[in-house]
């Protein structure tokens, strides 16, 4: 097992930049997820780490060793492809044993290792079956088996659950994380599904247009989004934005939104007058008739214990997660008040978050990359 260090990694396809100066460190034994919409450069980044694609510039270090220019087979990593890439002309046993065969391992040892691996993944009863007849989840397990049988330095997985149906997916998310807890292999996992990312990752990098927008733990990313893109991409429903104008002074604790005073976490930097946005998670909104910030109920979505209420305000629709018991009818006038400690402030133009007291905790101790 080893740490993965990516420094200023860049990949251009002709005039198009697929990955732009990426920096991150995956610590030994960590489960790292690259999250982002389709086409943002996740696969390209992963393929560069694997050695299937040469970077335009930048460096990749595996366990401290510079492997940027090494061939894929010299890197000692395992890759689980989106389409699994199981060899149709081999049965399950041969598929799993295929990487060991390359090392010239004696047949008896291969047999033993394959059987151990199959047991770990609970597919030992399938060993002599053809891979073409397998169900999606089992194909996934065989692909995983082929990856872990060799005990490589690290695992790279490219949307490995992307083609499974929801039912299998939830099961596999759980299984994958459990497997990781058992073998503690450094893993880079790529997905566009925020739920997968949030439930599995130790660390997440959120990517957009080839750029890592934020790198951090799931909690940091959810609670302290570094950009409006991240705030909007994570969470279901995503963070709400309400526009406001004017500058911010260090130490400020109040802003004016649509003529109403809103208490926010203490601002830690001076911001010149500009178009700004207040970011509010749906669960941090309460209905409060005394509030000056008003709107009308537009619709509701019942979820059992909670409901999502869409409220039409002067600055568009705001979605609030409120207790299911509250009876709401379209057209009802409501006042909105927020959990002041959990609000985010953004510069609308750059999309970047303004430093406030919510960032205080983050700066304690750990250094962040990207």
């Amino acid at each position: 097992m080893a740490e993965i260090r990516v420094e200023n990694l860049r990949k251009e396809f002709g005039a198009f930049t697929a990955v732009e100066d990426s920096n991150f460190v995956v610590e030994d034994g960590e489960f790292f997820v690259m999250l982002g919409p389709s086409g943002c450069g996740k696969t390209t980044t992963l393929r560069m780490i694997a050695g299937l694609e040469l970077p335009t510039s930048g460096q990749i270090l595996l366990g401290g060793e510079n492997v940027t220019m090494r061939r894929a087979r010299e890197r000692d990593i395992a890759f689980v492809f989106q389409l699994f890439a199981l060899y149709p002309h081999m049965n399950v046993r041969k598929n799993i044993g295929f990487p060991l065969l390359a090392q010239g391992m004696p047949a008896s040892e291969i047999r033993q290792r394959v059987e151990e691996t199959a047991k770990l993944l609970r597919i030992d009863h399938l060993l002599n079956k053809s891979v073409s007849g397998l169900a999606g989840g089992d194909r996934q397990r065989v692909a995983l088996g082929r990856a872990i049988v060799r005990r490589p330095k690290c695992f790279l997985m490219d949307e490995p659950l992307g083609t499974l149906d929801t039912e299998f997916r939830d099961l596999m998310v759980h299984e994958l994380r459990e497997l990781h807890n058992r073998i503690h292999a450094t893993t880079v996992y790529v997905t566009h599904d925020q739920m997968e990312a949030m439930s599995m990752a130790d660390k997440i990098a959120v990517m957009n247009h080839g750029i890592i927008e934020q790198f951090g733990t799931p909690r940091e990313i959810y609670d302290r989004p570094a950009t409006m893109f991240v705030a909007d991409f994570i969470g279901s429903p995503p963070m709400n934005f309400l526009g406001f104008g004017g500058g911010l002074a260090r130490g400020a604790r109040e802003i004016m939104v649509q003529g109403a005073k809103v208490t926010v976490p203490e601002v830690r930097e001076d911001v010149a007058p500009a178009d700004m946005a207040l970011g509010i998670r749906p669960e941090h909104i309460r209905f409060d008739d005394k509030s000056g910030l008003r709107g009308a109920i537009y619709g509701t979505e019942y979820l059992g214990t909670t409901q999502i209420a869409a409220v039409e305000t002067a600055d568009g629709i705001i979605k609030a997660r409120v207790p299911a018991e509250i009876r709401l009818n379209p057209g009802d006038q409501v006042g909105l008040s927020f959990n002041s400690a959990r609000l985010s402030l953004f510069d609308k133009k750059s999309g970047r978050a303004v430093r406030t007291s919510i960032h205080d905790l983050a700066s304690q101790g750990r250094v962040h990359h990207g």
């Binding site: 087979r73 890439a85 060899y87 002309h89 295929f98 090392q103």
Partner: protein, 316 residues
């Protein structure tokens, strides 16, 4: 990779199926008449073969096959009577026509030439074609489209246009009338077809397979050998049949460039001369035997061929 096409949405009715079936059977019968005629002729005696009106019903004889494999000389009846009793059926038939068998004909060596040249060139074309197709499919080849078009364009030229230059070239190089020369020539002609066909097949195989193998510790060549090739067998089989049929049937270059030791069967068979002109039963017998290898090869590979032709319609 859709299984439905616009025109197959409506299920065929019983009537339309019957009509389609009838058309196919009638067409197949019409196509087979010449073959059946040749097969029948090969079992006729020389007089029966040129009888007018043509004989549909006749006394079968293997004289054509005897004549195909032997050369004969005319002798006086006294000489023939002075010989011992005929030992084989062919001996007997020949003697009835006042002739004796002088020795084996050239048919067998010519047939072997055909086998060597056709299978040799097919192997070379498919081997080179597979590697080239893989290269074009997987790597950024500079000017790939132009190169592919150039390769295809060699097929557009009528062979006769290059016959004279090739004839002169081969004479200079000492390749005239050699098996090597013919193998090279047929390989050159077939490799364009092979590259194009195989590129289509290899394009269909996701590159993730080799990439997975290369990450798992194999070299590219090993990955190609162990993951791409096994999945390309249908395409390779289909391509091999097309190449083989061309090389096996080729007449123009064979007639021009081979005359002796390296002559193939196609120019040899129609030139079989008997008493008083063409020996039609022997020609028909030669043609019948000539059909056998292709028939066997196609039947052996029919499963791959069928899958090869419908490649891409079914997800594996």
């Amino acid at each position: 990779m859709s299984l439905t096409t616009a025109h197959s949405v409506v299920a065929p009715t019983a009537t339309s199926k019957r009509i389609a079936g009838t058309i196919v059977v009638v067409y197949a019968l019409i196509s087979m008449v010449p073959l059946l005629w040749i097969f029948a002729t090969s079992f006729k005696t020389p007089p029966d073969s040129i009888a007018y009106p043509p004989k549909i019903l006749f006394q079968p004889s293997v004289e054509g096959y005897c004549n195909l494999f032997t050369t004969r000389t005319r002798q006086t009846p006294d000489y023939i009577n002075s010989l011992g009793p005929a030992t084989t059926f062919c001996d007997e038939t020949t003697r009835k026509r006042n002739m004796v068998i002088a020795g084996p004909s050239n048919f067998l060596p010519r047939f072997v030439n055909s086998l060597i040249i056709a299978f040799g060139s097919t192997f070379c074309a498919v081997f080179l074609g597979t590697l080239a197709a893989y290269g074009f499919s997987r790597f950024k080849v500079p000017l790939a489209d132009d190169l592919l078009f150039f390769i295809l364009s060699t097929r557009m030229m009528p062979p006769i246009a290059v016959a004279i230059p090739i004839y002169l070239m081969y004479r200079e190089l000492g390749l005239s009338d050699t098996a090597l020369g013919m193998i090279l020539l047929y390989t050159a002609v077939n490799v364009s077809l092979a590259v194009w066909l195989l590129k289509g097949f290899i394009d269909e195989i996701p590159r993730e397979y080799e990439e997975a193998a290369m990450i798992d510790g194999y070299t590219r060549l090993q990955a190609f050998w162990k993951t791409v090739l096994p999945q390309a067998t249908t395409g390779i089989a289909a391509t091999a049949i097309f190449c083989l049929i061309f090389a096996w049937n080729e007449y123009a270059f064979a007639a021009l460039l081979t005359s002796g030791t390296a002559q193939t069967a196609p120019p040899f068979i129609p030139a079989i001369i008997g008493e008083g002109g063409q020996d039609w039963p022997a020609v028909a017998a030669g043609t019948t035997i000539f059909l056998v290898p292709i028939l066997v090869f196609t039947i052996l590979l029919r499963k791959q061929l069928l899958r090869g032709i419908t490649f891409g319609a079914v997800r594996k």
